[in-house]
């Protein structure tokens, strides 16, 4: 963004400098900090195009991945990001570990910190767990998702992808569709997009879209077709079967009919509509294969960009304070 203008301000003359120790949520970050992460990620994208996809920025440092909740792609993305920065990684997952023996999260983290790690990446079921660790530990902490609260790196990569594809964030109209109530991706996206000046509408059945969410500065709609004509971006959230009993909506078929993205609906949208999805996709439920694999979709670019965002996050927090 504004490459020409910003490159003319030399770093020694009061340009923005990152000093934050942790990235635990977008709520804590200023718009300027969010843009700084995006700009830094821009530089890291180039590294992934080299034949030797590695820079020595974090050589000799250790990144500990603490996954108190299962994750495959976010963990792999962080692991690969760390390795492209030449850091070593150690993995802790709560299954079959000391957690099963009754150790608290803080004790686990303190033990791992005592081994001499440089960055902690944490995913936890409990909202606020990364924030608590960030306060209690000297080691920088990056959140890889805390329950239904926030998933900062996912929102950052979403915003990064939008900026890459549409050239800006300010003034864009973004729709987030699906289970807003339980979605940390939705929350972080709303916070980040609002800070950068986008208009956000959240859409879904009333059982999955609490009216209190309007307090975050977004519009609420229960009718997808009403907003299709005006939006620049649609972010389709996954329906998380595993979290539901059967009482959130009558049937998957009905959900799909009312809130699924398909060719007829995309035809009602702007031509250059951007279709996003944080994955994993339930094909035929919230999005049809035709659209997920179609020309408007940037779902796989989101994954690619996730790597650059996580490299930027690891790099910034590990250099921010010494």
């Amino acid at each position: 963004m504004a490459k020409k203008a910003s490159s003319s301000s030399p770093s020694h003359s009061g340009a923005f400098v990152w000093t934050r120790k942790d990235i635990v949520g977008l709520d804590e970050l200023s718009a300027r900090e969010i843009v700084h992460i995006l700009d830094t990620a821009e530089s890291f994208k180039e590294v992934s195009t080299r034949s030797i996809k590695k820079v020595p920025a974090l050589r000799g440092k250790v990144v500990a991945l603490l996954f108190f909740e299962d994750s495959t792609r976010t963990r792999m993305s962080f692991e690969l990001a760390a390795s492209r920065l030449s850091a070593d990684t150690i993995l802790f997952s709560s299954r079959g570990s000391s957690v099963a023996k009754g150790e608290t999260t803080l004790d686990t983290a303190r033990n791992i910190e005592a081994m001499g790690v440089d960055v902690l990446v944490i995913r936890h079921k409990q909202p606020g767990a990364p924030h608590m660790l960030a306060r209690k530990l000297r080691t920088p902490v990056i959140s890889a998702g805390d329950g239904p609260h926030e998933h900062p790196t996912q929102a950052l990569l979403d915003i990064f992808t939008i900026r890459q594809k549409l050239g800006r964030i300010e003034g864009l109209k973004v729709a987030i569709v699906g289970d807003i109530a339980h979605s940390r991706v939705a929350r972080s996206n709303i916070i980040g997009l609002r800070k950068l000046g986008a208009e956000v509408t959240v859409i879904g059945p009333p059982t999955l879209v609490p009216s209190a969410i309007a307090a975050m500065g977004c519009r609420i709609s229960h009718n997808l077709d009403d907003v299709l004509g005006e939006v620049d971006v649609i972010n389709m959230l996954r329906i998380q079967f595993e979290r539901f009993g059967s009482n959130q909506f009558p049937s998957l078929r009905e959900y799909s009919r009312l809130y699924g993205l398909n060719a007829e609906r995309v035809a009602m949208c702007k031509k250059n509509l951007l279709v996003m999805h944080p994955g994993p996709i339930n094909r035929g439920v919230e999005i049809t294969s035709e659209i997920a694999d179609g020309p408007n979709s940037c779902i796989l670019q989101q994954v690619t960009n996730g790597l650059a965002i996580r490299m930027a996050a690891l790099y910034l927090v590990s250099q921010g304070k010494e």
Partner: protein
């Protein structure tokens, strides 16, 4: 801030640098001119423009290197300024590579730049051109082409200002931040 070279003297130093590079140009291999951000890029750009005019038959590639990730003092600095991308979108293998920077002091930036270049390929030859050599080496690296050598007091910073970036030409002594 004290001026030590005028715009005219910068032009003259630039001329000296250019002529010494031209005197040693290869006849057969591709020439890759790579500027180290930020002012090295501007200088490299000037060299490439002039070479393309004077030697239209020469095959010249132009690249930009950001050495931030390769510095050995990364974790000694407070705060993180914005890192910019390296732009080398051609094959470095077997090229005659000219690395360009504005001021050479400790030699550590060049050490970092050589490391960075290795990740992009294996040039046949790497030569180093700097506009100002101010002395103060901390590693055994020296420049092949120098615009002007000056004796600068330790503890001061030499700043090159260029039209394209700073709106004026000149070399200044400023206190180290």
């Amino acid at each position: 801030m004290k001026r030590i070279l005028t715009a005219k003297q910068v032009t003259s130093a630039m001329g000296t640098l250019y002529r010494s590079v031209v005197a040693q140009l290869p006849d057969d291999s591709t020439l890759a001119v790579i500027g180290i951000r930020t002012r090295g890029k501007t200088l490299a750009d000037r060299i490439v423009r002039r070479l393309r005019e004077d030697h239209p038959a020469l095959h010249i590639e132009f690249g930009v290197l950001d050495i931030t990730f390769y510095r050995d003092d990364l974790s000694r600095r407070r705060g993180v300024p914005l890192v910019r991308a390296t732009e080398i979108d051609f094959n470095l293998d077997d090229t005659w590579t000219l690395l360009v920077d504005d001021v050479m002091e400790t030699g550590r930036s060049i050490r970092a730049a050589l490391d960075a270049l290795h990740d992009f390929g294996r040039p046949k030859v790497i030569r180093l051109a700097v506009l100002i050599d101010r002395g103060g080496r901390e590693v055994p690296i020296s420049a092949d082409f120098v615009g002007k050598t000056i004796k600068a007091p330790q503890g001061k910073r030499i700043q090159v200002r260029l039209k394209e970036k700073d709106g004026e030409e000149g070399v200044f002594i400023i206190p180290k931040p």
